[in-house]
């Protein structure tokens, strides 16, 4: 029985944290996020550090590590609001491992691990329905391929992706279509959290070859959704800790009525409650991440407990951390607002609390 990290994982954490401090401080995050494009030099750097092929099997050029290791990276990335599309890339790797054949894995995964391509995964079109019917993009079988005409909305990191895996219905079956950015047009969509760029992908009578179409079962769709929820919750843990620490520091320094405000119970108790919440969804998330490689059948319940907790708790933490700062927290210049926006972004991604808690009820036999 050991519910803690290994020394190697601790070193990985230190490495990511150093990278975020040295190469991607929040001033730089702001600049990069405003530009909306990925700094390819940084992308190459994290590829060289191994983070882009962390969970990729060694035979496909990765490190063959687990989702617990990935969690360590995502937690630290989230702490610094890293705008690099690590989550989209990692989920695409899992999608390829899930639906593709050996041939594609051998061709694509080593390139992805080496930083040679940025990839993203787009599952649902409906803004608030994580269900096969929530995929509405449709393709039509044509000779040797599928013709797609229409728009895939809500595609994470679409503007920087070289390749996209897009969920689409063809007749009565769901597929993931492997698409190159050259086959489609992409429109960025303004959204609260600039560190999580999103675009709409337009297909104008695009024909995708049969060998780029991969059947996606309902079970596989659910699996990828659960991995998505695990990944965004891992980032949420780091982000929540960061904004909480920022607010604790402020409360320890800001003097009003001749005392630092952290002395007042109205302030300190709220900060204590936030600590309780963060500790708790962190523990639940670690367990969920562990199940990915060790107890797959437990992932749905485990991740729903974690995301069900984090979705609302982090959103409230985002709001209250601004509130405890007072007017300074409301300014664009102060960093707390960036975390408030992330907390709102996290809430619906791969399922809000209602989605997850209703699922917990079903899985719990109610």
């Amino acid at each position: 029985m050991n519910f803690g990290f290994t020394e190697e994982q601790q070193m990985l954490r230190d490495q990511v944290r150093r990278f975020m401090q040295d190469d991607l401080p929040l001033t730089k995050v702001r600049t990069l996020a405003r530009s909306g494009i990925v700094d390819r030099e940084l992308w190459q750097k994290i590829a060289d550090l191994g983070w882009l092929g962390l969970t990729t099997p060694e035979k496909y050029g990765g490190l063959g590590l687990s989702w617990v290791d990935l969690t360590v990276v995502l937690e630290e990335a989230g702490r610094g609001l890293c705008p690099l599309p690590i989550v989209s890339h990692a989920l695409t790797i899992e999608a390829i491992l899930t639906v593709c054949k050996k041939k594609q894995c051998e061709t694509w995964l080593p390139v992805m691990a080496a930083g040679g391509a940025i990839c993203t995964l787009a599952l649902y079109d409906d803004p608030h329905w994580l269900h096969p019917e929530g995929v509405t993009l449709k393709g039509k079988p044509v000779r040797k391929g599928v013709r797609i005409h229409g728009t895939k909305p809500f595609v994470a990191d679409a503007m920087s992706a070289d390749y996209l895996m897009i969920a689409v219905w063809v007749d009565d079956h769901l597929y993931l279509a492997a698409v190159s950015k050259d086959q489609v047009t992409i429109q960025p969509q303004p959204q609260m959290d600039l560190t999580k760029p999103v675009g709409n992908v337009n297909f104008d009578e695009v024909v995708i070859d049969d060998d780029m179409m991969f059947r996606l079962s309902r079970k596989q769709l659910a699996w990828l959704t659960d991995l998505g929820a695990t990944a965004v919750t891992a980032e949420a843990v780091g982000a929540a800790e960061a904004v909480h620490a920022m607010t604790v520091k402020y409360a320890s320094e800001r003097v009003q009525f001749e005392n630092v405000i952290g002395k007042y119970q109205g302030v300190k108790h709220r900060l204590a409650d936030m600590y309780v919440d963060i500790e708790s969804f962190k523990s639940l998330l670690y367990y969920a991440a562990w199940t990915v490689n060790n107890s797959r059948q437990e992932l749905p319940r485990a991740v729903s407990l974690a995301k069900g907790y984090a979705a609302d708790a982090f959103a409230q933490i985002g709001i209250d951390c601004i509130g405890l700062h007072g007017a300074i927290g409301f300014t664009a210049e102060y960093d707390a607002q960036l975390y408030l926006k992330r907390s709102k972004w996290v809430r619906p991604m791969y399922g809000d609390s209602d989605f997850h808690l209703q699922r917990v009820a079903i899985l719990g036999g109610v």
Binding site: V248, G262, G308, Q358
Partner: protein, 386 residues
């Protein structure tokens, strides 16, 4: 990360299960001597005071085995491992840590053998949460202390044989914390009077305890004069891990789900109401959080990393669940939820109604939620004391 247990830990789990199978008959088959027999047997196994050093009669067991033991016992809804609850929870560990050789020999065996029950004399009429300000006074007179003053909210006082008592031996002005001393006092001492208090659930398990010129031999002092605060703080930190608690709470959640299956509201089954379903899931979420928080903290302990006050995290969850789960059951069943044992309309013989009135036992005893928040804010987040 690894949730598997080692071969020897697994073997221990099997040993506990086998013991339970052999020694825990169904309720209907338990004779009048069952509990005494049970206590004797678990004692013989070294499972009472499981983690206490063997030289004092404890089990000398490890943290993981202790967690396994508690989990299995809780899963089997087994009787307690010893009935000297406060003795096992903190009086015993306190005596092992601070007691004299004589005190250890005198008190520890009786605690392990469930022969003696203890109560805890901390709170006073004017000092509950602000424990360090107590006024109950002890003055040295030869080989005795002479105690005068009053304690209150003393759980178990009506039947306990001994009390672990905090008294003031130096004025508050001299030293708020250092002026406190810990004494071990027989409840049948001359001048000690217990007046039970009826609580809102109609029970009388806590009491006022009055001391008028009660003489306590200096030999019954735990630690040095002025060490009382130190002894108390470390004793409170010695509270049991939450593993067994979590199993019991999952169990209670199952009972609650069972209740939901048979309840209707507005003529419709409550189990289909999304608000009801979400509420149950929220309970499950918090209990699971307690479980995995507990395992994370246990891992820290095993690795020898110091725990600061992380246990306050689970105490806050426990407090809110303790109130909310019973209250949810009462609300779920409408008017019938209000009915007590004896009413033809009572739900589950009124157990939900009754326990919905008993939450302060857990929520206020041992530190109110706001005290837990202070502890987290000050000791973990390092915010200033208020």
């Amino acid at each position: 990360m690894d949730f598997d247990y080692s071969t020897s830990e697994e073997a221990f789990r099997q040993e506990v299960r086998a013991f339970i199978k052999d020694n825990l008959p169904p309720r209907s088959e338990r004779g009048p001597d069952f509990l005494n027999e049970w206590l004797r047997k678990v004692r013989a196994r070294g499972w009472v005071g499981f983690s206490w050093p063997k030289e004092f009669g404890g089990g000398g067991g490890g943290l993981v085995e202790q967690a396994i033991l508690r989990e299995e016992m809780s899963l089997a809804k087994a009787p307690p491992l010893g009935t000297s609850f406060m003795g096992l929870a903190w009086v015993g560990p306190g005596i092992i840590q601070y007691g004299t050789q004589d005190q250890k020999q005198r008190f520890i065996p009786d605690i392990l053998d469930s022969k003696v029950t203890w109560c805890t004399g901390y709170s006073e009429p004017n000092h509950g949460s602000d424990l360090a300000s107590i006024q109950c006074k002890a003055v040295r007179d030869g080989d005795d202390y002479v105690v005068n003053g009053q304690k209150i909210w003393t759980s178990g006082a009506p039947w306990a044989q001994w009390i672990i008592l905090l008294v003031r031996t130096a004025s508050r002005a001299e030293s708020k914390h250092k002026g406190i001393t810990c004494l071990l006092v027989p409840m049948n001492s001359a001048g000690l009077v217990v007046v039970p208090i009826e609580n809102m659930a109609g029970d009388r398990h806590f009491a006022e305890v009055f001391f008028k010129d009660v003489r306590v031999p200096v030999a019954n002092r735990l630690g040095q004069e002025g060490d009382g605060w130190k002894v108390t703080v470390s004793a409170l930190a010695n509270e049991r891990s939450s593993i067994g608690e979590v199993t019991a709470m999952f169990d209670k959640l199952d009972t609650l789900k069972e209740l939901v299956q048979h309840t209707r509201k507005n003529g419709k089954p409550s189990r289909n109401d999304p608000a009801v379903r979400r509420r149950l899931a929220t309970f499950e979420m918090k209990i699971a959080a307690m479980k995995y928080n507990g395992l994370r903290y246990l891992t820290k302990q095993i690795r020898g990393e110091p725990l600061t006050s992380e246990t306050s995290v689970n105490k806050l969850h426990r407090a809110s669940l303790e109130i909310e789960m019973d209250d949810f059951a009462v609300a779920l069943t409408g008017q019938a939820g209000l009915h007590l044992r004896g009413s033809d309309n009572a739900v589950d013989k009124g157990t939900w109604a009754k326990s919905s009135l008993n939450w302060p036992n857990v929520v206020i005893g041992g530190g109110t939620p706001n005290i837990q928040r202070n502890i987290i804010a000050e000791r973990i987040l390092h915010l200033p004391k208020d």
